[in-house]
Structures are given as structure tokens and as C-alpha cells.
């Protein structure tokens, strides 16, 4: 694939992510923050997000496995995850978090478990998609091109 094609593919892919709600305006902000001083800014931030989210998701899984569930703690984690996902614009993850918190409030273990599953799912999706996006970026850069804004 030549450079122009790569770039077009990249743009299309990125646009679709927005359309499908995987990413939102916040992600654009991140891209705008990237500059010569921080050429890998977006990748770095997203990596931080991945790390943090996985940690939180594991905590959530652990917390929901307990005999007596500490809903407060779960709520705190979900809140964190919500904040974190808002940082990169992972909209779908954020939405699930909102529902998740509601179940927490109701102390509905079933609902919580369902949400945990969903949030894992959404997280995995956005992670995969972002990784693909970055790969495309890399290919463009390797081919000597620049990333279209």
C-alpha cells in the first residue's frame, strides 16, 4: 500500500471510531496537544490509560468475587475508570461506567457483574481499535509520510 492509501485508510479508520462512539472529542484534543516536544504524546497517554484501566478492571473483578461485596469500593473504582476513560475520550467505556455506578448504588450484584462484563468488553474493543490506529500511524511514519489531522 502506498503512502497516500495508508493515509486515507488511517483517516477513514479514525473517522469510523468517532462515528461508532469509540472515541470522542477528547481524543481530538489529545491529538492537538501532540507537538514536536511530545511527538508520542497520544500514544503515551493512551498507554497510561490502558495500564490504569486494566488495573481497575482487575480490582473490580476481585471486588465482585468477594463474599460480602463492598459496593463503596466498587463504586470508587468505577468512578476512577469513568474519569480515566474520559481522559482519552473512550466514550463507550464511559457510558458503561455510568450504568455500572447505578447498579452499585442499588447494590445490585447481578447488574454489577453484567456491567463488569460489558466494561471489559468495551475496554477490549477500544484498546484493539486504538492499537490498530497507532499501527497505521506507524506505517505512515515509516513510509515517510505525515499523519493527517
Amino acid at each position: 500500500m502506498d503512502l497516500v492509501q495508508l493515509q486515507r485508510q488511517f483517516v477513514d479508520y479514525r473517522t469510523s471510531l468517532y462515528h461508532e462512539g469509540f472515541l470522542d472529542e477528547q481524543f481530538t484534543q489529545l491529538q492537538e496537544l501532540q507537538d514536536e516536544n511530545n511527538p508520542d504524546f497520544v500514544v503515551e497517554v493512551v498507554s497510561l490509560f490502558f495500564e490504569d484501566s486494566e488495573r481497575l478492571l482487575n480490582e473490580l473483578a476481585r471486588a465482585l468475587e468477594q463474599q460480602s461485596i463492598d459496593y463503596k469500593r466498587i463504586d470508587a473504582h468505577v468512578h476512577q475508570l469513568k474519569g480515566s476513560s474520559s481522559s482519552i475520550g473512550a466514550q463507550r467505556v464511559q457510558k458503561v461506567c455510568i450504568a455500572f455506578r447505578n447498579y452499585c448504588e442499588e447494590q445490585n450484584v447481578e447488574g454489577c457483574l453484567k456491567c463488569l462484563q460489558q466494561v471489559w468488553h468495551e475496554y477490549s474493543l477500544v484498546k484493539t481499535k486504538l492499537e490498530s490506529l497507532f499501527q497505521l500511524e506507524q506505517q505512515i511514519l515509516t513510509a515517510g509520510g505525515s499523519i493527517p489531522m
Binding site: 484534543q29 489529545l30 468512578h79 476512577q80 474519569g83 480515566s84 481522559s87
Partner: protein
């Protein structure tokens, strides 16, 4: 993780708002990184921290190192609101709260705790671009207040100094009454007078020690539960002060007190500070400005006690309300044991500028107190100096008995005033104090200071009353630690009953006193000066205020001329 900018910058340069020094606190690493980048793009100087406690330390280490703080609401190690409170009270910096949760109640809480703005995540860069307005606004307000204070301060200082040096007035017994009257008159005058000029040196000084004292006095007069900014403003009778000033200060004060109240129990356990422990200047510092505290040299054992003398101005000693005292005490109490400093840190550390001082100092009218408190650095010396001088002075002036010198009670006039307000009867105190006192004071060289006059009256009851009275007024006098709550000192000083009560015991008593909230007979030896001359009118006349004594008695041999000079400077800085 703290990513500090290289070196610590001095206050912004002229390219404001560029170079605005922002401290960002957020436990979310992703957001922290993003915010840092955004702020840098705004040409701000950014420091980040993912821990609230760490952030507080950073702020405390460099009081003038930051212009604004942005903090998340939900953090694992400390509630964002708590951090907000601390910053507002200790450093008086604008704080912006952030959260992904935009519920009205949360936002309201933020505003109530003093946040100057509340941002919802995800935060856009344009929202950060304008945060400088909060810094600017604050500066304007400060400048306004300082300017209006300027004239006042110099006059006030002069007056205070003048009073202090009016030997005749406080020395003769007959003058007790007149002295008191004079004090009253002066007090009224003070209200109209200018504040300490030293306060003008500090950018953030708005609430000077004196001003805060007036504030507290007004609050107490009205009754803490019934206060309102308007009422306080009216009572304070400070023409240039606005209702808004009072309102915001009241808000902070309330938060501060409530925090101290909660922690007073913990602190109470620390109350039994021994004399020698008192000089834990650092701890005291927590009460007041950090700097000032550090200034109190540990090697000036007396200082802790004598400093309280700075409260000297009996007149300005506001009978602080319970809350006030408690608030104050809790902080200082902890100190001596060292735990205090910890506690203090945890609890609300006194604002570097005034609040704490005011509390501890009670009516520190002396310029010194102002000076020391108001100015960040230079005045510290006077402050530390003073205690020593005071002690010595008192020793000198009072006739030492077994190493006791008559503790300068907060002046007969003061006492009487206090008594009127707080049923203080000093006399009995003296006796008890005297007997128990000196011996136990020991470590700090209290011997000299225990000018407790032992009149053979049982002071216990009196102590009780006196404590209440002295709490507010004498607090710092006795303890030398301005910060220490008056009551604490009162207890210490009063130490009426326990014969041969060791300091440790005193501590306990003090604790008890504290726990019980107020005037309890203190079986503490008078560590300080206050209790002495109630019985003897002459004596009483002699020692109305510690500070006065200090100034009054030129006992050069008691202290270095340099010290005196320092005090002098401090007073008249």
C-alpha cells in the same frame, strides 16, 4: 509522581499569565499527564502530584512557590475537599476542583469549601487557559486590602509600641485601673488604626494578626453560633473592611474550627506538653506560619513560653470563644510531644499569615506579634526573641523566689477585664501556681519564668476561671508558643493546684482541661509568666502583659541587646 519544573521558580515574571505556577493534583495518571501538557501549552509552569499529601508538602515547603492549585475531588489518600480547605487556610491560594462527577451537590460542596472554580472532566484546554483570572482576582483583592491597611498599620504599630514602653503606666499599682482604661481606649483606637506595616510586605496578607483578633473577638462577642458577616463587621469597627472580606474569612474560620474540633480529642492527648517540649517550634509553627515557627529556635526554651507574651495586649486578647480556644489548643497541644506537629499538619495548619497566629496569640497586640506573623521571614526573629526576653524580663522584674519569678499575669487590667468577661480570678491562681510551679517547669528554664506569685490562695478555682480568661488572652503568653491555644497556656500557667505536680501531670491536667473544653484548674506549674501578680496590685500593675513587661523592663542582662533590638525591630518594623 511529581514532575517538578526544573528548580523552583520565583514569582511570575511580567509576562503574566505566562509562567503561572500551577500545582496539579490528581491520582489519575492519565489525566495528570494530559493536564500537565495542556497547562504547559498555556505557557504555565506546571508541577504535578498524584498524592494529595505530597502536594500539601510541596505547598508547605514553598509557601510562595505556586500561584494556583488544581485538584481532583476524588483521591485515595485524601479527600479533595480536605485538601482544598488546607490550601485555602494555610496558603490562601486559589484552588480549582475537578471531577468527572458534575452533580450539583458536589459542585456546591466545592464552592462551600472555598474552591474558586469547579471543572468537569473531560477538561478542555480552553478552560485551563483562563485559570489565571483566579490568581489575578485574588491579587487585586489583596492589594486593595493591603493598601487600605497601610496607613493603619504604621499608626497602630506605633501605638502599640508606645504603650508598651509606657513604663509608668504599667509599673505602678495605682495605674492598674488607669492602665486598663488606657488599654481599653487604645483598643478602640486600634480598631481605627492601621495595621501592622509589616503586613504590607507580604503579598497575601490581608488578615493580620490584629485584624483576625478583632474578628475573633467580634465572633466571640456575638456568640459563635449566631455570627454573621454583617454583625462581625459592625463589631469589628474596621472601616476599610468589607462584608465580603469578613464573610470569606468567616467561612474559612468555621471550617478551620470544625476541623480542629474534630481533632482536638486527638490533640488533647498531646496536651501535656512539657515545658521542654514546648519549644517544639515546629509544631507550633503548624499553628502559625510555617516560617515563623521554624524561626522559633528550639534552643530558646523560654521562648515557647514567653512568646505567648506577645499576647501581651490584654486588651486585644479576645476572649476567644470555646471554639476558638479549642481550635487553637488542639493544634499547639500536639506539638510539644512532637506528635503535635504531625497532628497539626493533619489538622488544619494555621495559615501562615494570620489565622493561626491570631488564635494562638490571642490578643497579640504587640507589633512583634504582628511583625512576626505577618511577615514571612524577617519578623520571625523578633518573635523568637521576644519570648526569651519576656521570660527574662519577668524574672527580673518579678522577684524571683526559688527561681520563681512572678509570672506576669496578663496584667491586672487584663485580668480584670478578662475576669469580667470570663470570671477570672487570678489571685488564687498565683498561690497555687507558685507552689507547684517552678519546680516542674524545669526543662525550659522555667524557673525563671514561673513568676507565679504565690499568694496563698487556692488557685484552683481561680485557675479555672483564669484559664478561661487566659485562654484567649494569655495563651501565647504563657506558652510562648503563640500557637498554642490559650487555654493550653492558661492551664500551664495556672497550674494552680498540684503541689509539686510534675510537668507530666500538668500535661495530663492540661489534657483534661482540654478535653473538657475549657477552664479547668490547671495543675501545671506556671511555666510562664502569667500568673503572678494577681494578689499584689503592685505586681499586677507591673505585669499587665508579657510583652509589656518585656519592653518595659530593660533588663539587658537578661537577654542580649541584640534580642532586644530584634524585638524592637519586630515591634516597630
Amino acid at each position: 509522581m511529581v514532575l517538578a519544573e526544573s528548580g523552583f521558580s520565583s514569582p511570575r515574571n511580567d509576562a503574566f499569565p505566562a509562567g503561572l505556577r500551577v500545582l496539579v493534583v490528581d491520582d489519575d495518571p492519565t489525566w495528570l499527564k494530559i493536564l500537565e501538557k495542556m497547562l504547559k501549552k498555556c505557557s504555565y509552569e506546571v508541577t504535578t502530584s498524584c498524592l494529595a499529601r505530597e502536594a500539601l508538602n510541596l505547598l508547605r515547603e514553598r509557601k510562595d512557590g505556586y500561584d494556583i492549585v488544581i485538584s481532583d475531588v476524588n483521591m485515595p489518600d485524601m479527600d479533595g475537599f480536605k485538601l482544598l480547605e488546607h490550601v485555602g487556610l494555610e496558603m490562601d491560594l486559589p484552588v480549582i476542583m475537578m471531577s468527572v462527577d458534575g452533580e450539583t451537590s458536589r459542585v456546591m460542596k466545592g464552592v462551600q469549601h472555598g474552591a474558586c472554580d469547579y471543572l468537569l472532566k473531560p477538561i478542555r484546554m480552553k478552560e485551563l487557559r483562563n485559570i489565571w483570572q483566579h490568581v489575578f482576582r485574588k491579587k487585586i483583592h489583596e492589594v486593595r486590602d493591603i493598601e487600605s491597611l497601610e496607613g493603619f498599620e504604621s499608626i497602630q504599630m506605633t501605638r502599640s509600641g508606645y504603650d508598651l514602653f509606657d513604663d509608668g503606666h504599667f509599673l505602678s499599682g495605682d495605674d492598674t485601673t488607669s492602665g486598663r482604661k488606657r488599654k481599653d481606649a487604645d483598643n478602640k483606637h486600634d480598631d481605627r488604626e492601621l495595621s501592622d506595616p509589616s503586613s504590607t510586605k507580604k503579598a497575601r496578607v490581608v488578615w493580620t494578626v490584629d485584624l483576625h483578633q478583632k474578628f475573633v473577638k467580634a465572633v466571640n462577642q456575638i456568640g459563635f453560633d449566631k455570627v454573621g458577616p454583617k454583625k462581625i463587621l459592625d463589631l469589628m469597627n474596621v472601616p476599610w473592611l468589607t462584608r465580603e472580606n469578613v464573610a470569606s474569612h468567616l467561612q474559612k474560620y468555621r471550617l478551620y474550627l470544625s476541623r480542629l474540633q474534630k481533632e482536638s480529642d486527638i490533640k488533647n492527648s498531646f496536651i501535656g506538653m512539657k515545658h521542654s517540649d514546648l519549644p517544639s517550634k515546629d509544631s507550633t509553627a503548624s499553628f502559625g506560619p510555617h516560617k515563623a515557627m521554624n524561626m522559633i529556635p528550639d534552643d530558646v526554651p523560654n521562648s515557647t513560653y514567653s512568646f505567648s507574651a506577645s499576647n501581651s495586649q490584654a486588651q486585644n486578647v479576645d476572649l476567644k470563644g470555646q471554639g476558638d480556644l479549642k481550635g487553637i489548643t488542639s493544634a499547639p497541644m500536639a506539638e510539644p510531644k512532637g506528635a503535635l506537629s504531625v497532628d497539626i499538619r493533619d489538622s488544619h495548619e494555621a495559615k501562615s499569615t494570620q489565622m493561626s497566629f491570631d488564635h494562638s496569640l490571642g490578643s497579640v497586640d504587640s507589633a512583634v506579634s504582628f511583625a512576626s506573623f505577618n511577615s514571612t521571614t524577617p519578623l520571625q526573629y523578633p518573635w523568637t526573641e521576644i519570648p526569651e526576653i519576656q521570660f527574662k524580663q519577668e524574672c527580673e522584674s518579678l522577684h524571683l523566689e526559688n527561681g520563681f519569678s512572678q509570672l506576669p499575669l496578663p496584667g491586672p487590667s487584663m485580668i480584670e477585664n478578662e475576669a469580667n468577661r470570663s470570671r477570672i480570678e487570678v489571685k488564687p491562681l498565683l498561690d497555687d501556681c507558685r507552689s507547684n510551679f517552678v519546680e516542674h517547669l524545669g526543662p525550659v528554664g522555667a524557673e525563671d519564668l514561673f513568676p507565679i506569685q504565690s499568694k496563698s490562695q487556692s488557685l484552683n478555682n481561680q485557675v479555672f476561671d483564669l484559664i478561661s480568661a487566659t485562654k484567649s488572652s494569655m495563651k501565647t503568653q504563657d506558652v510562648g508558643l503563640n500557637y498554642l491555644a490559650d487555654s493550653e497556656f492558661a492551664l500551664r500557667n495556672l497550674n494552680a493546684s498540684g503541689v509539686g505536680v510534675p510537668l507530666a501531670t500538668l500535661s495530663e491536667d492540661l489534657q483534661i482541661c482540654w478535653l473538657q473544653g475549657d477552664c479547668y484548674p490547671m495543675n501545671y506549674g506556671l511555666q510562664d509568666l502569667e500568673c503572678s501578680t494577681y494578689d499584689n496590685p503592685a505586681l499586677m500593675a507591673e505585669t499587665p502583659f508579657h510583652l509589656y513587661d518585656v519592653l518595659r523592663f530593660d533588663h539587658e542582662h537578661l537577654f542580649d541587646p541584640a534580642e532586644y533590638y530584634a524585638i524592637d525591630q519586630g515591634l516597630f518594623a
